[in-house]
Structures are given as structure tokens and as C-alpha cells.
């Protein structure tokens, strides 16, 4: 199973690197989307799959990244703007993490969602007070360059998720997921590890937001902080399966292809299918696609 996962990962990475050479904007567009969702779902899993703290507000990190990137574009090279976007998202997570991580279960889900919406409205207010209704970006890097960056982020997020799960840090996070009080009792510094996981899971989405902004070359707060981004991340990760590192990849792959397929014919149907799939998986396939693959292999 391990070899299959590694092969899949390498094949996707190769696809990402090779896509620009086909010269097909359509293919590059799809691969860009795919890499983006892998990076986001994988980052989300660094916090939520490991600790069980389900964040329904990851759009906020994406949005903060996009906002920082749009403010910096033209002032510094875009590579630095992306790094700043990741740093800003991580910093934001560090600032809000302490209070937000004090609640768990459904309260954490609601709080992260609410926080994301709050920031969205604040940014919308700021932008309208400045008299800006969306900002256009000129001189953005070509799609090939953006695509490679995004594939790099997806790879980084996947490796990061893998390393975390197999490290001492990951063992502590698993203990926190299982029983926070017991974890603290046997020496796990619970508050610090949760905060670190929160920061780790925020950084890459910040850079992803910046890249996505450069791709559309248009910033509009309602779009950059769109809660649908959060919903999609959670759905992909849960449907893919949170127990393994390959889960978020499978989820992102499935939904990106599905969205391409439905977009041309029935765009309205996409969100409906997303919701129905989520419900179906939570009820009947709690271990996700990844678990499904395992049980099929086990049955043989």
C-alpha cells in the first residue's frame, strides 16, 4: 500500500512539473487547482486530522495570504510576497490560536468558522472604506511559474503532513486527540503543541491564497475569504480519509476531477454533490476513500 501511495504522489508531482510543457492552458488550469486543493487539504490535516480539532475556518489563512500578497505586489518580487503571505497567515494563527484552541469539539468548529467570517467582513469594510471595490493586479507571473510554485507547495504540505505524523510531535498530537487531560498528565505540553499544529497548518494556506490571487490577478475580499473554501477543504479531507497522508490527496483528486466534469454541464450541481458526498461518507465510509482502498485490498 505504501508503494502505491508513493507512486501516486510521484506521478502527481511529475504531472505537475510536466504540465506546462504540454502548452495546454486547460490542463495547466486543472493541475493548478488540483495542487491547490492538495496543499490546502494536507495543511488542514496537520491540525485537524492529527488533533481532532476540526477547523471550519481555513479560508481565513488563505484570505490573509491573498490580502498580504495583493498589498505587497509591485513593492517586492512575487516570491517574497508569497513567503510574506505564508508568514502572515502563520502569525495570524499564532495570535488567535491561544484563545481559539481553548474550546474543542463543535465549539471549535463554530468558532473557527465565525473567526473566518469576522475577518472577511473586517477586510471588506476596510477595502470599501478605502474606496476600493476589488483590486486588479498587473504584471503577474505566467501560469507555468505559478503552477510550479503550487506543485511545490502541495509537495511541501504532503511531506510536512507525513513528517508530522511520524514524529514525536505527531505522537503528542495523537495523544491530544484521544484524551487531552491524560496527555497533559503524562507530560505532553498540550497548549503548546496545539498552537504549533495550528501555526503549521496555517502557513502553507497563506502562500496558496497568494498564488491563487496571482492566478486570477484580481482581489475581492468576499471571494478571497469565501467560506466555501473552508467547506471544500473539510469535505475533501474527510472524504479522502484523515487517517493517512494519502487521504487528502485522494479527496482533492476526486473532487477536482468531479468539479471539472460537472462545471461544463451542471455547475450548480457541484456544491450539491459535494454536500451529499460528505454526508454519505461520514455516515457510511467514516475512514474515507483511503480506508475504502485499504478494506478492498484487505478483502482480496
Amino acid at each position: 500500500m505504501k508503494n502505491v501511495s508513493i507512486t501516486l504522489g510521484l506521478a502527481l508531482a511529475a504531472l505537475g512539473v510536466a504540465a506546462p510543457f504540454t502548452g495546454s492552458p486547460y490542463l495547466m488550469g486543472i493541475v493548478f487547482q488540483l495542487a491547490m486543493w492538495i496543499a490546502l487539504a494536507q495543511s488542514w490535516s496537520m491540525l485537524s486530522a492529527t488533533t481532532g480539532y476540526l477547523s471550519l475556518g481555513h479560508a481565513v489563512f488563505y484570505g490573509v495570504g491573498a490580502y498580504v500578497c495583493v498589498l505587497l505586489t509591485g513593492l517586492i518580487p512575487f516570491e517574497f510576497a508569497l513567503i510574506a503571505a505564508a508568514a502572515a497567515a502563520a502569525l495570524f494563527a499564532a495570535l488567535v490560536g491561544m484563545p481559539v484552541l481553548r474550546v474543542r469539539g463543535p465549539y471549535f468548529v463554530i468558532l473557527t468558522y465565525g473567526l473566518s467570517e469576522l475577518v472577511r467582513h473586517i477586510v471588506m469594510r476596510i477595502e470599501s472604506a478605502l474606496g476600493s471595490f476589488g483590486r486588479m493586479l498587473f504584471d503577474v507571473p505566467p501560469i507555468e511559474v505559478l503552477l510550479w510554485w503550487m506543485v511545490g507547495l502541495a509537495t511541501l504540505a504532503t511531506l510536512g503532513a507525513f513528517v508530522i505524523r511520524h514524529s514525536r510531535f505527531g505522537a503528542g498530537l495523537a495523544a491530544i486527540r484521544e484524551d487531552e487531560v491524560a496527555a497533559e498528565t503524562v507530560g505532553v505540553p498540550v497548549a503548546r503543541l496545539k498552537l504549533l499544529a495550528f501555526i503549521a497548518s496555517a502557513a502553507i494556506p497563506g502562500a496558496v491564497g497568494g498564488l491563487a490571487l496571482l492566478r486570477t490577478s484580481y482581489f475581492e475580499p468576499a471571494q478571497a475569504f469565501d467560506p466555501v473554501i473552508s467547506f471544500t477543504i473539510v469535505t475533501m479531507a474527510l472524504v479522502g480519509g484523515t487517517e493517512t497522508v494519502r487521504g487528502p490527496i485522494l479527496g482533492a483528486l476526486g473532487f477536482t476531477l468531479l468539479s471539472e466534469f460537472l462545471w461544463s454541464s451542471l455547475p450548480q450541481l457541484y456544491m450539491i454533490v459535494l454536500g451529499l458526498t460528505l454526508i454519505t461518507f461520514i455516515l457510511f465510509v467514516p475512514r474515507g476513500l483511503s480506508g475504502l482502498v485499504d478494506s478492498i485490498k484487505g478483502a482480496r
Binding site: A171, E178, A183, T185, V186, P189
Partner: protein, 239 residues
């Protein structure tokens, strides 16, 4: 200087005085029993010592350092660990993984992978769970989970282990096996135990000295025989 020195600890929950000026000294290598009816304050005292609950007054000194104000994880790394009356296994992790976390985080210094494997094996061995190491903790019987609680405390490398009713809910055979285990741990590893137990027979057998609490105050203190003959204790326990 006592190994564990509790100085005038009080804990007030609103209008309830859960602990009222409790002092006690535990010597290294002894098994110290805590007795008392429900609500006497035994578990609150554990929570204060282990850092889960800050005391309203008083302080806890362990091995020459002040624990009061430290987080439970830091207290654990200093060598004092507790178990829970209502067991708290990491249910979705295997028995071995439960202990691995304790070894990774509970020890005072960073252990190598070989040392961790050794600590895990030792702890499993000590509580007779070696043959269950690959099971999920959730699959253990209650007796098994109580043993896991102890093993997890051992795997942190704790020198003083506080056991909160590890015998409650066990059948007589299991209780006697548990008594053997604890006796052996003390003999072979020189561990110090503070135990809370409702199984009075077990407490009397194991403890070197016993402190009796009632409504948050100490009412008696002495060897098991002295406690057995104490009027006030008989009154509290048997009416």
C-alpha cells in the same frame, strides 16, 4: 526533608471547602494510603498535587522543588505522575503507543528510540500487558485499562505515582494480582506510591502509613493498625 511535602493545602470550590489546611509528608519508597468517604477530598488532593487544579492556599514541594503553579505536564517531567479513577486511555492508540507517548514526553530528558522501546517493554512487563501490546487500548478489559493507566505512569519515568482507585471495579483475583504488581514495583524499582482506595482491605495491606480525610480535613493519621483502631475513623466509615 520529605520526598513529597504538602504544606497546608486548601481548596475552595465556591462555598465548598473541598480541602481544608491539609498537610502530609510522604517518604521516598513508601506506599502512602489516603482514605475517606465519598467527597472527602481525596481526588481533589490528587488534582492539586498533579497540577490539574490550583490550590486556594498552601503549597506542594516534591523532591526539593515547588510544584505549585506548574502545569501537569511539567510536574510529570519532574517525576510525579497520577492515574485516573475513571480511566483515560488513549483509546484509539495501541497499548504500546499509549506507553510510547508517555515515554516520549514524560521523561525528564530526551530518550533515544532504543531507550524508549526499552521503557515501553519494561512498563508492559511490569503490569503484565506484554501480550496485549498491539491491541487498541479501547479493546482492553477494565482491569487491563487500569493496568494501562499504571504502565503509562511508569513509562513517564515517574518516581512517585499517585494511584486513584486502581482496584475499584476489579474482581478479587484481579485485586490480588494488582497488589502483587504494586508490591513488586516498590521492591524492584524503589517507586513511591500515594494511593486512594475504596477497597479498604487492599489499602490496609499495601500502605505503610494512612491518612484519613473527612470533608476536606485530616481526621486521622498512622499505620494501618492504628487507623483500624481509631474511633473517629470507625465513626466516619461505619456510622
Amino acid at each position: 526533608m520529605a520526598f513529597l511535602d504538602i504544606k497546608g493545602v486548601s481548596k475552595r470550590f465556591g462555598g465548598l471547602m473541598a480541602l481544608n489546611d491539609v498537610s502530609l509528608q510522604v517518604e521516598q519508597g513508601e506506599i502512602f494510603g489516603l482514605m475517606g468517604a465519598n467527597g472527602a477530598g481525596k481526588t481533589t488532593l490528587f488534582s492539586v498535587i498533579a497540577g490539574h487544579v490550583p490550590p486556594t492556599a498552601g503549597e506542594v514541594i516534591f523532591d526539593g522543588t515547588r510544584l505549585t503553579g506548574l502545569s501537569p505536564s511539567r510536574i510529570c517531567r519532574r517525576g510525579l505522575c497520577r492515574t485516573f479513577q475513571i480511566v483515560r486511555p488513549f483509546a484509539g492508540l495501541t497499548v504500546a503507543e499509549n506507553l510510547r507517548v508517555a515515554a516520549l514526553y514524560g521523561s525528564a530528558r530526551k530518550l533515544s528510540e532504543t531507550e524508549i522501546a526499552q521503557v515501553v517493554d519494561d512498563a508492559l512487563e511490569a503490569v503484565d500487558l506484554s501480550d496485549r501490546r498491539q491491541l487498541d487500548a479501547a479493546q482492553l478489559t477494565l482491569s487491563g485499562q487500569k493496568r494501562l493507566e499504571i504502565a503509562r505512569a511508569l513509562a513517564t519515568g515517574a518516581q512517585l505515582v499517585m494511584l486513584d482507585e486502581v482496584m475499584a471495579g476489579l474482581n478479587p483475583t484481579e485485586v490480588s494480582a494488582m497488589l502483587d504488581t504494586l508490591g513488586r514495583l516498590r521492591r524492584e524499582r524503589g517507586l513511591t506510591f500515594v494511593i486512594v482506595e475504596h477497597v479498604i482491605g487492599a489499602l490496609m495491606t499495601l500502605s505503610d502509613r494512612i491518612l484519613v480525610l473527612d470533608h476536606g480535613e485530616r481526621i486521622a493519621f498512622g499505620t494501618p493498625e492504628e487507623i483500624g483502631n481509631h474511633d473517629r475513623v470507625a465513626e466516619v466509615y461505619f456510622g
